[in-house]
């Protein structure tokens, strides 16, 4: 992989980059012909190989060098804990406790790498799969489970942790993020050199979302306004059953040059690379130099959601290829090799994950359904006669059953 520095001040060089694997004639041809096993190509920023070997990179090494061992161990803990929450949620769905669950399996490094590059005053706009970012922002996983259980539509206060509600309508949040960034500009909270004041926004979406008008319009608005926003696209190779080749006419990270700002492809399964690239882009935005498009090259290891059956449209051999690029294994190998973490630490994290999973399960089972009349709450700021009348109507109706069995 390239250790060419990404020049954030210039539109990216578009030479070379489509990640098409060679057409092979061997028995693995079917797999090799699948674009979804591409390794990201030469332009992809990678600091850790799938084997956990550190790849030197003049631009990003100082950022990694500035991380303390504690912070690095913290990254590992984040990765393991959020994967465990995800596994538990999937199990809870199977047992009927959640209506549906969208797993982040395989995308932990992309999400934690970006999430840990944020400062408290930054603001994140997720899609529906960003459990790892939510975790980094300090959002209680129970909020996420509540939505998928069907007791609310999210229901957390986005301003509390600067983490917006999950957005299920594909791509809409890219515009909200851009508008939020334009408001930050108007507040003068960019380019002041005060690290506690300068703020950036990050918008998460998938490869499929890049087809939506909303996302492309967001890129235009961000570009013309030099808005302090980072577009963080997790290219997990699939949009439900639709692969990149049917969705994305040219490599995503090159797209932003047409909108007047830089783009970079990063190995989304390499937490060091994602952290370094995200931090660079966020600093760039906070300092008033405008947007960046990040394509985190990763893979959706599981089904689209628990309702999906991926065997209908993709070969399992593809998943096997990506297993070897697992984000947690490679980071663990590196931590061990560097002597940053030892057996005791890993055991502790495992134990903590077990505890967390047990608590998530317990709290999920204890999550009560809201009162039926709760559907009338919060629809309007001011009293609305129709709402009041219907709330009363439902209350009376429900009361008519009381006493009967």
């Amino acid at each position: 992989m390239s250790d060419t520095p990404v020049d954030f001040d210039a539109p990216q060089n578009n030479a070379g980059a489509a990640a098409r694997p060679p057409r092979a004639t061997d028995p693995l041809a079917a797999i090799n012909a699948s674009p979804a096993v591409g390794d990201g190509g030469a332009d992809m920023v990678q600091l850790l190989t799938p084997e956990g070997q550190r790849v030197p990179n003049a631009t990003y090494d100082p950022i990694i060098g500035a991380l303390t061992d504690d912070e690095l161990r913290g990254f590992y803990r984040d990765l393991v804990l959020i994967r465990r929450v995800d596994t538990e949620a999937t199990a809870l769905q199977r047992q009927g406790e959640l209506g549906i669950w969208a797993s982040l399996l395989g995308q932990e490094a992309a999400q934690v790498g970006a999430g840990r590059a944020l400062r408290p005053q930054d603001y994140a706009f997720p899609s529906y799969r960003e459990h790892g970012v939510a975790w980094c922002r300090g959002v209680d996983p129970m909020n996420l489970l509540g939505l998928f259980r069907g007791v609310n539509h999210g229901g957390w206060d986005p301003h509390e942790k600067n983490f917006h509600l999950y957005t299920i309508v594909i791509g809409a949040q890219a515009l909200h993020a851009t508008g939020y960034a334009m408001a930050i500009q108007r507040d003068g909270d960019v380019g002041t050199d005060d690290p506690d004041r300068d703020a950036a926004v990050i918008s998460f979406f998938g490869d499929g979302a890049t087809s939506q008008g909303d996302v492309n319009e967001a890129l235009v608005f961000a570009g013309v306004n030099h808005a302090p926003v980072v577009f963080f696209c997790q290219n997990n190779q699939w949009a439900i059953s639709v692969p990149n080749e049917k969705q994305i006419p040219s490599p995503l990270y090159q797209r932003s040059s047409g909108f007047g700002f830089p783009g970079v492809r990063v190995d989304g399964n390499d937490i060091l690379a994602v952290y370094a690239v995200s931090k660079t882009a966020l600093d760039h935005a906070r300092s008033g130099q405008g947007p960046t498009f990040i394509e985190a090259f990763t893979y959706r290891m599981g089904a689209h959601t628990t309702s999906d059956d991926p065997t209908k449209y993709r070969v399992s051999a593809e998943v096997e290829v990506w297993k070897h690029r697992d984000p947690i294994e490679r980071f663990k190998a590196w931590l061990v090799r560097e002597g940053i973490a030892n057996r005791t630490f890993f055991d502790q994290v495992e134990a903590e994950a077990d505890e967390l999973a047990a608590s998530v399960r317990k709290r999920c089972l204890a999550m009560e359904d809201p009162e039926p009349t709760a559907m009338f709450d919060h629809v309007y700021v001011e009293e609305h006669p129709l709402i009041e009348a219907e709330r009363e109507q439902l209350r009376t109706y429900l009361a008519s059953f009381e006493g009967s069995h």
């Binding site: 529906y128 539509h153 008008g213 439900i240 059953s241 969705q247 209908k312 559907m375 008519s400």
Partner: protein, 333 residues
């Protein structure tokens, strides 16, 4: 009733399979018919309604589109301008809105704007309604937006036979058609006579005859109303159940006829009642049947709130009890 039909043409299938077979028949009949939508190819759609069609008709006629509803409807307009008959699948009701501009401003108006020179024979299929325990945007009933839009025809099937025939009739129609599919009933089975359609696309159907009160419904609520009528019958009340089938145009003569016979009407839909289709029907029936009415025309529908989280949807959606409750109110006049 259909004694003349040969029994070999009768098949039992689900509503989903009915639409699938109807699409297949339409594609076999007319090479200009093509399908567009998200995940409709290899996957066969998230509800498997297009299962097997890409395999049999190829990627040129069953197009897995990029993830962009405005793009789908906009390019379908272009295809139609060159003589194709695109049948679009919108994955869920709540995801039609990115395409709303194209449907309302372009599809609906093209014929009038071109003084009749251009017709857009598009069909936009939308799985509609709740009751499947889904997350937000997957359970909406947005028919009123489209029935409010002149230039669109809006229909909704409620059983397998209608699924099979109505989709073919919609495709043959030269006007654009919004074709609603009751998603929670996709797996309900019914008998389909594949030899010939029993009625036109815009005709309503009396599902059960009755004399005391008329229940008007469409899509998922037809089954609910039929169950209500059966319960009422055990209690000695005779309810007529009519499946509207077409929401725009309305089969007003048939609705007026039933209203005049029973004198009482309850309209049932999942959509919130305020500004909904039920209000329009009530107004028109009142205008035509004022002296026949024994009670005000009543509506049972969703409450006027955003579709609630799934754990509350049973309280939001009209069910047997709420229908019967309103029937009692009407009968007590």
């Amino acid at each position: 009733m259909t004694a003349t039909t040969s029994s070999t043409a009768r098949q039992t299938m689900t509503i989903a399979r009915g639409i699938n077979s109807g699409l297949r028949a339409a594609m076999e009949k007319d090479p200009k018919v093509l399908l567009m939508g998200e995940d409709i190819g290899k996957l066969g759609g998230v509800f498997r309604v297009t299962e097997g069609l890409q395999k049999d008709f190829g990627e040129d006629r069953v197009i897995d589109t990029p993830l962009a509803e405005a793009g789908i409807v906009g390019t379908a307009i272009g295809m139609a301008l060159r003589g194709y008959r695109p049948v679009i699948e919108i994955q869920f009701d709540g995801f039609v809105y990115p395409a709303f501009d194209h449907i309302v401003s372009q599809v609906a108006k093209m014929r009038a704007r071109s003084l009749g020179a251009v017709t857009l024979p598009l069909v936009i299929r939308i799985p509609v309604g709740g009751g499947i325990g889904a997350v937000e945007h997957h359970s909406e009933s947005n028919e009123a937006y489209f029935t409010h839009t002149a230039g669109l025809r809006v229909v909704c099937c409620a059983n397998a036979e209608d699924a099979y025939w109505m989709i073919q009739q919609a495709i043959e129609t030269d006007d654009p058609v919004i074709f609603y599919e009751p998603k929670r009933r996709y797996w309900d089975k019914g008998e389909v006579d594949t030899s010939a359609p029993q009625r036109g696309l815009y005709e309503s159907r009396i599902v059960k005859e009755g004399s005391d009160l008329t229940l008007l419904a469409y899509g998922p609520m037809v089954k609910t109303c039929l169950q209500a009528a059966q319960v009422a019958e055990e209690e000695g009340r005779s309810l007529e159940v009519i499946d509207l089938r077409s929401l725009s145009p309305l089969d007003l003569p048939a609705l007026i006829g039933s209203t005049q016979r029973t004198g009482r009407v309850v309209i049932v839909h999942e959509a919130p009642t305020f500004g909904g289709l039920g209000g329009e029907i009530a107004a028109r029936l009142t205008e035509s049947c004022f002296y026949h009415l024994e009670a005000p025309i009543m509506r049972v529908g969703g409450y006027n709130v955003p579709y609630p989280p799934s754990r509350l949807e049973e309280d939001f959606l009209p069910d047997l009890d709420r229908v019967l409750d309103t029937v009692d109110k009407s009968l007590s006049y």
